[in-house]
């Protein structure tokens, strides 16, 4: 199966079909009646294949993928927890799939209730006042949150605040979102403990009247808690700024700490991380944004409200505006709601503690072979800086690739940027001691291989559907479609 090597276009045979459509019913009409100038000149190049062709093709290529049900997926910062099946079952109910987003509120009360109630649970769990579920992903949530911050300052006739403070350990989306929102980044350095350097922060805001706010992930991207958080919040608030919580690492805090209680004013949550909705190979995710009561009027339109037992849709003139066609990735929200009700208040409080226990156990077991740049307790994930033994030329990349040969997904590598050989491991609470022990054993085995048989790592992976790829070729040749591919092969043949 692994040998399957066809593009869907290469299966195409003229006249073959995979669809089933009704007969023509109104033969008096045809799009050919349209003026020719409106019709395309050339037919699109789409495959002509049977239904079974399609199924086999995609089933075969799916076997070249690694999913959470294949094995351990310790991808740091991505929270690859189990994606429950019941979420999928509920999200496939006709009453949710087959409702049009413009249907009157009276005909979609169930859907509106899901939106409203999920929004209430997120508020309670995060300690903020109210959420929108309209933002499509974490990065989209960041942008929306920053728009809210900007709008808040403008609503007070304060137009000069356009600087956002970001620690150097932050995700790349943070500075990118700031610029897309028309503001500027002030980057501050981390201290030796891998945390925000309070002194640098104070100096950065000293005497300035243009600080709009600060974006912070807590636990930060090193997986450690910013224990000066109360002082950080105070410094920013006294400088007139607002605190933005990047929810990338919220999983660590579930059951233990609420962002609102740490003094954050705006935040986003990645439902696809913390609340178990599938990552889908890169989306659809969902990035709900929560705010304090003071900022509530600025949440994007449309909003879902409740009056007694009736849910309704509202547009608010103070809002930042509209940021999505409709209500965000609605079916993703629905899955998260199912997950939260499955956990309930009894189980949700164990998420952060178990995730943290798992990560610390790994940290402790691997620190004899892998360099731990910041000692002390970690939260839900741990960052190493390559092997302790720096005598070999084995890099983090080689370790990651070797793990694939052992049937596990690689951790996140080369992030955060603070350490040149960063390996970031996040086990999540859904992994058992036995799975984690197996991972630890393999990591130690790889450390020994690095010394005794380094070629095994340099050549890795060898047991995967393909070996290491030529990325320079991809970037230079720029073959982005089947059409490009045909042109390329023709040119090569000549």
């Amino acid at each position: 199966m692994i040998q399957y090597d066809k593009l869907i276009f290469e299966l195409s045979r003229e006249e073959r079909v995979g669809y089933s459509l009704p007969k023509s019913r109104f033969n008096d009409y045809s799009f050919n009646d349209l003026n020719e100038q409106f019709l395309r000149n050339e037919e699109p190049y789409l495959p002509e294949v049977s239904e079974l062709d399609v199924l086999r093709h995609f089933t075969n290529i799916s076997n070249k993928n690694f999913g959470i049900e294949n094995g351990f997926y310790p991808l740091g910062s991505c929270t690859m927890k189990y994606n429950p099946k019941i979420n999928e079952e509920i999200a496939s109910l006709r009453g949710f799939r087959r409702i049009h987003p413009l249907q009157p509120a009276s005909t979609v009360q169930g859907a509106l209730k899901v939106y409203y109630e999920l929004q209430r649970i997120l508020s309670e769990v995060s300690g903020l006042h109210e959420f929108t579920l309209n933002s499509y992903a974490g990065a989209h949530g960041e942008l929306v949150g920053l728009m809210i911050i900007k709008k808040y300052h403008q609503s007070r006739q304060d137009f000069k605040r356009n600087k956002i403070i970001i620690p150097d350990s932050a995700h790349g989306t943070n500075p990118a979102s700031v610029v897309v929102c028309g503001m500027k980044v002030i980057e501050i350095s981390s201290n030796k403990r891998g945390r925000v350097d309070l002194q640098s922060l104070k100096e950065a805001v000293e005497g300035r009247d243009d600080i709009a706010g600060m974006m912070l992930t807590n636990p930060n991207t090193l997986g450690i808690f910013e224990d000066d958080i109360c002082e950080i919040t105070k410094v920013i608030h006294e400088a007139g700024g607002l605190m933005y919580y990047d929810g990338a690492n919220l999983n660590a805090l579930l059951g233990k700490v609420r962002p609102g209680d740490m003094g954050f004013d705006v935040m986003h949550i990645n439902l696809h991380k913390t609340f178990s909705t599938p990552h889908g190979g890169g989306g659809p995710g969902s990035g709900p944004v929560g705010v304090t009561k003071e900022l509530e009027p600025f949440l994007p339109n449309p909003r879902i409200k409740k009056l007694e037992d009736h849910y309704y849709i509202e547009e608010n003139g103070d809002a930042i505006g509209r940021i999505s066609s409709y209500y965000g990735n609605y079916l993703v929200s629905l899955r998260a709601y199912v997950y939260l009700l499955t956990l309930g208040k009894e189980n949700i409080k164990l998420v952060g503690p178990y995730a943290t226990l798992n990560a610390n156990y790994i940290k402790n077991a691997l620190k004899t072979a892998y360099q731990l740049p910041i000692d002390g307790n970690c939260m839900h994930e741990v960052v190493f800086n390559g092997l302790i033994n720096k005598d070999t030329d084995i890099k983090t990349l080689d370790i990651a690739k070797r793990l694939l040969d052992y049937g596990m997904h690689a951790p996140t590598i080369y992030f955060p940027l603070l350490f040149p050989q960063a390996i970031m491991i996040e086990p999540t609470e859904t992994e058992s001691l036995q799975t984690i022990d197996a991972f630890i054993n393999i990591m130690h085995k790889i450390a020994i291989e690095a010394k005794e048989d380094p070629d095994k790592l340099k050549d890795a992976p060898t047991k995967t559907p393909i070996r290491r790829t030529d990325e320079v070729f991809a970037a230079k040749e720029m073959i982005f479609s089947y059409k490009d591919y045909l042109t390329y092969t023709e040119e090569r043949e000549q």
């Binding site: 459509l21 395309r40 209680d261 889908g280 982005f480």
Partner: protein, 445 residues
């Protein structure tokens, strides 16, 4: 014990022991006490699977599944059964962004196939791996135009765009610090003359939609030449499904094509998840937001696919990236790829033919009632608007009583549309359903 947490007492004890601590709480000792939340969240108690099913059945029943005669960005097209069968495979559904190509060829290959299909439908050189939805992809296209033009900071937006799309573009532009103006419509289509009068050296690009908000197929003769002369980019938001038969953005001289892909195999699902596409000329590819998948080979020469041109993106360029987007709607791109594989060019053509037939039959029948008239008389494909003297509330009520959603009043989009109602007919609507709709409307006054 709880089914998603495998932690037995013995396991926990073993782990604590290895860490030399006696309780998990000790791991949180460094946290300031003032931020620790010690009580239970005020949220519902857990539900068993049976309880969940019955709770969501109830909610499900509070949503009314209606016969859809409405479009406006979300269309009730046929979804082949195999889409769900394939997209629910955990290998596709639960995997992460394909950063490790050696174990992600499934995802990478369908993204490549998706890009190929968007390429051929739009006629443009290159598609990215997809965006959140049609409105945000159009907003990103505006950013792209501003970035390509380097110093220009203004966009022109045709008023025949879906007002929701316009609102999203406005939000994006407003916060980024870009300006915009509107191109008026004349007779339900974008007015070339008005566009010309608003062009100047500060216009980075002009955005149009085809078929437009009213369902009209616009005629862009003269647009591309005029814009080229002014060095402004031509951005076309086009309903991807209609491009099976309609003139492509490329053939009309567009520089960037973008829009919604919901009509290619996705349920209307109360508005999401959908998928936005974005395609452009190769010379602009480095200004394009989002992921791009490229063809390459592995070290044994085997065909392989990888994410490429990543140096444009936020995780590398940080504050200098053109966009902050860091995902695509990958699984929805799989919907599109399976749909288009299943339909092929003939199937897609037939979908458009059947939709055209049904919508024109309905159009003629409604005009014949004497209660509707077309103030525009423009060509359309599957969706149209009419003026009516019947109260819009009455239409909605009467149709809802018969489990039909249609004749949507455009007034909710703004007073300028006050007399107009929308109808959309896809290949799924039967003659009996259309006749019933007409019969109900005929009886109103």
């Amino acid at each position: 014990m709880f089914k998603y947490f495998p932690h037995t007492k013995a396991d926990i004890e073993k782990m604590l022991k290895s860490l030399n601590i006696s309780s998990i709480d000790e791991l949180f000792n460094e946290l300031p006490e003032s931020v620790i939340y010690n009580s239970d969240y005020d949220i519902p108690s857990f539900m068993s699977e049976a309880e969940l099913r019955s709770y969501f059945d109830q909610l499900n029943n509070q949503n009314k599944e209606l016969t859809l005669f409405s479009g406006l960005g979300a269309y009730d097209h046929y979804q082949p059964a195999i889409i769900d069968a394939i997209t629910s495979r955990q290998e596709f559904m639960t995997s992460y962004t394909p950063y490790q190509p050696e174990i992600s060829q499934g995802t990478l290959q369908y993204i490549f196939e998706y890009q190929s299909m968007i390429q051929t439908l739009t006629g443009m050189d290159v598609s990215n791996a997809s965006m959140y939805d049609g409105s945000t992809s159009t907003a990103e296209a505006c950013f792209m135009a501003a970035s390509i033009s380097r110093k220009r900071s203004k966009l022109l937006i045709s008023t025949t765009l879906n007002p929701n799309t316009i609102k999203v573009i406005e939000t994006y532009l407003k916060f980024k610090g870009l300006e915009w103006d509107y191109v008026d419509s004349k007779n339900g289509v974008t007015d070339l003359k008005d566009m010309k009068s608003k062009l100047d050296k500060d216009i980075a690009g002009v955005v149009v939609q085809n078929p437009n908000f009213f369902g009209h197929i616009e005629n862009y003769d003269g647009f591309s030449e005029t814009l080229k002369e002014n060095k402004s980019l031509f951005i076309m938001n086009a309903d991807i499904s209609t491009l099976g038969v309609l003139k492509t953005p490329f053939e009309q001289g567009a520089d960037i094509a973008c829009g919604e892909c919901q009509s290619l195999g996705m349920p209307v699902a109360y508005g999401g998840p959908f998928l936005g596409y974005l395609a452009t000329n190769k010379s602009y590819v480095r200004k394009m937001p989002g992921r791009i998948c490229g063809y390459t080979h592995d070290l044994e020469g085997k065909r392989a696919f990888v994410l490429t041109l990543q140096a444009r993106e936020q995780h590398i360029r940080r504050s200098k990236a053109n966009s902050n987007i860091c995902s695509n709607q990958s699984l929805m791109a799989l919907f599109v790829t399976i749909y288009l594989s299943t339909m092929g060019k003939h199937g897609l053509k037939k979908v458009n033919e059947l939709s055209y037939q049904g919508s024109h039959y309905l159009y003629d029948r409604l005009l014949k009632t004497g209660k509707f008239k077309d103030p525009f008389n423009q060509p359309f494909l599957k969706e149209f608007v009419l003026e009516t003297t019947i109260s819009h509330d009455l239409i909605q009520e009467a149709l809802l009583e018969n489990n039909i959603f249609g004749g949507y009043s455009l007034q909710s989009f703004g007073d300028e549309y006050e007399n107009l109602v929308n109808f959309a007919v896809t290949e799924k609507r039967t003659k009996a359903e259309i006749d019933r709709l007409v019969e109900i409307l005929e009886g109103l006054s």
